[in-house]
């Protein structure tokens, strides 16, 4: 193992959507600021955008205002959002969209040069190469250095102030000690907590990137950062087997959700994101499954466009259509709910941040799927938050000096790594413990197996078993640094599982069907539960903090106690 020490002004952890845009913004705002991106993969094709995306889901179309977007997202989350975060994001959606176009993203325009809109909030694009476009810009920035294949495993925090982070070079056997004046965390959400739809050979054919393992959440939790709304899990409604997105069929081609009797069932349950999942689950329970998106009878032109659109973002669905010989015009597309994810770009889980995207740890800012309180961000919202976090971080740097990381902290990390890569004492492999964790979450914390439902007794069992697995993970063994990363990823996920369980247990109501379906409290309770469920880890235990909702229309929020 090599040890390398680095020093920078601004460390960005995760060179995905938000991270790349944060680097671009910080670099343009201050060319004297040294910026370092640490990315576990390679920024050219990492994170959510690797395969491409099919639309820009968050845009303020003509005749609408940022406030309309806030209202929409708030309604979809049944009130548990932060207006200030949604508003500051919404204000920037169109500016970042124009910037993306300047950088080379193809956006559909009409004969008058205006963007063609899909529904009330979406733009049609060719998003196949959106990540290479962003990466190419970042690589040209003079004051930005990118370290690819460096996986960050921990923050260095002293007296609630961040001083940098520790990482492992997964292909060069290097331990990195990185000191920084400010840090932006942009590691995305967490996949792989629950048993996936297809746990066998295709276990990673999931919707959310299986390589986003929630490091950002876990590191924050461990260091006592306040987190919010982890009980609002995200379950995606997806094409069966390929887990490809359904928006292109539903909003794009206007396909309705139908059950096996051919009845359109969506109106029966409501049209919010969680209600659409719940309706599908319920139709199956009541014997009217499977459920489909009704595509039969679409025109040949529509079909051709759909085949292409899917190749630009989820190629397996097009392959599926072609190899099965059943094209969408001939057969409706079966849909199913995925396993639950924790993802703050769709729901509201993540760091509890102020309006400037500062977390409760001084010097640590959060953007994108890792940041909470601001659902329905999608690509453009992640860019907008990257921008806000970068501006705040650069301001912070001008007033602060680089913290220093203590020798004892370094030694503790080195000896932990040496233990994992040393003599093999483990009876279990990382893979086995990962499967065990997913089985526990599936059975006792509202996974696919229980139709996403749970009760308090089950959560107690889940918590007990996740703690046991955490203990077992102490003895795991890695043959190389990639396997070492797998150990850290598993331990991150176990930490997040504990937080999810604590949050699910804390909210004594069912506000969002499927996302948090608490069988002990099956009704919504507006009198007692129009509240944020937040948490902080103290002495190894997750402590729940209930906070009152901010004021309607409130434009700024500052951290207090």
């Amino acid at each position: 193992m090599r040890v390398e020490r680095l020093k920078t002004d601004l460390l960005i952890i995760g060179g995905g959507t938000a991270g790349c845009y944060a680097a671009l913004t910080a670099s343009e705002k201050s060319d004297a600021t040294e910026i370092l991106i640490c990315e576990k993969a390679n920024i050219k094709r990492s994170g959510c955008l690797a395969a491409g995306v099919n639309a820009l889901n968050a845009y303020i179309v003509e005749g609408r205002t940022p406030q309309d977007y806030v209202d929409y997202a708030k309604k979809d989350a049944d009130g548990i959002v932060r207006d200030d975060l949604l508003y500051t994001m919404s204000e920037r959606l169109n500016k970042v969209t124009e910037r993306l176009e300047q950088l080379g993203l193809v956006i559909l325009k009409d004969e008058n040069g205006k963007y063609v809109v899909r529904g009330n909030r979406n733009l049609k694009i060719n998003g196949e190469n959106i990540k290479p476009i962003l990466a190419a810009v970042v690589e040209k920035l003079p004051n930005v250095t990118v370290l690819n294949r460096v996986n960050i495993i921990d923050f260095s925090v002293n007296g609630n102030k961040i001083n940098g982070a520790f990482g492992i070079g997964i292909e060069n056997d290097t331990f990195y000690i990185i000191e920084a004046k400010a840090v932006i965390i942009a590691t995305g959400g967490a996949a792989g907590l629950y048993k996936p739809n297809n746990p066998g050979f295709s276990r990673h054919k999931m919707w959310y990137p299986p390589f986003n393992t929630g490091a950002g959440y876990a590191m924050g939790i461990k260091h006592g950062a306040e987190m919010t709304t982890f009980e609002m899990r995200f379950i995606a409604l997806r094409c069966k087997d390929t887990i490809a997105p359904t928006g292109t069929l539903a909003q794009g081609a206007g396909a309705k959700q139908i059950n096996s009797l051919g009845e359109v069932y969506e109106a029966k349950y409501g049209l919010t994101t969680s209600e659409r999942v719940y309706g599908t689950v319920n139709e199956n329970i009541e014997g009217r499954g499977p459920c489909y998106l009704r595509t039969e009878g679409i025109s040949p032109e529509q079909e051709e466009s759909l085949l292409k659109a899917y190749l630009n973002m989820a190629p397996s669905q097009t392959i599926r259509w072609i190899e099965s010989g059943k094209l969408p015009s001939q057969a409706n597309v079966e849909i199913e709910g995925t396993e639950p994810y924790i993802v703050g770009g769709h729901t509201a889980s993540g760091y509890w941040v102020d309006t400037k995207r500062a977390t409760t740890i001084s010097g640590l800012f959060a953007a994108g799927d890792v940041a909470g309180g601001c659902p329905q961000k999608y690509v453009t919202g992640a860019l907008a938050e990257g921008e806000i976090a970068a501006v705040s971080a650069v301001d912070y740097i001008s007033e602060n000096t680089t913290g220093s990381i203590s020798g004892s902290e370094i030694d503790a990390h080195i000896s932990e790594i040496e233990r994992f890569i040393g003599e093999n004492r483990s009876q279990f492999t990382t893979e086995q413990l990962e499967e065990a964790m997913q089985t526990v979450m599936d059975s006792y914390a509202g996974g696919i197996k229980t139709n996403y439902r749970f009760n308090g007794k089950q959560l107690d069992i889940a918590d007990y078993k996740i703690r046991q697995l955490t203990e077992l993970s102490d003895a795991l063994h890695a043959d190389d640094f990639q396997e070492l990363m797998y150990i850290y990823e598993l331990r991150e996920r176990l930490t997040i599982c504990r937080s999810v369980i604590a949050h699910l247990r804390a909210r004594h109501e069912t506000r969002w069907h499927s996302f948090a379906e608490n069988l002990d409290h099956p009704e919504k309770d507006d009198i007692n539960w129009r509240k944020y469920v937040n948490s902080r880890m103290e002495n190894g235990e997750i402590k729940i903090i209930l906070r009152d909702l901010t004021e309607e229309g409130q434009k700024t929020y500052e951290h207090s106690n």
Binding site: A41, S46, F201, I319, Q482
Partner: protein, 104 residues
């Protein structure tokens, strides 16, 4: 789903190894690429689009209804061309103009 790399075609340029978001592809001592963790492939097709000699193809696992077709991409006259070879020998090709937006 996962990918397969044709050793005979691979020229060892390393681009697939460089780009994979899961760090799943390695180069052997003979400089040929191989997928070390086939079950961990997300199916993002990043590696396939990078390969200059079309040595990489992807397929759907049988557990998600795969029927043995193999897919790769080729770049022709500025188009991104998807080639789907079916087990019965039939081949389907879909060419996409990167300058053209999705219609839906």
């Amino acid at each position: 789903m996962s990918i397969a790399i044709d050793r005979n075609k691979c020229v060892g340029c390393g681009r697939c190894h460089e780009v994979c978001p899961g760090t799943l592809i390695k180069l052997g001592a003979d400089k040929k690429a191989y997928i070390k963790y086939p079950k961990d492939c997300w199916g993002c097709t990043s590696c396939i689009k990078e390969c200059p000699v079309y040595a990489i193809s992807f397929y759907l696992g049988a557990d998600i209804g795969g029927m043995g077709s193999k897919v790769h991409t080729e770049k022709k006259d500025g188009l991104l061309c998807w080639v789907i070879e079916q087990p019965d020998g039939k081949t389907a090709e879909i060419a996409i103009d990167p300058k053209e937006s999705n219609k839906y």
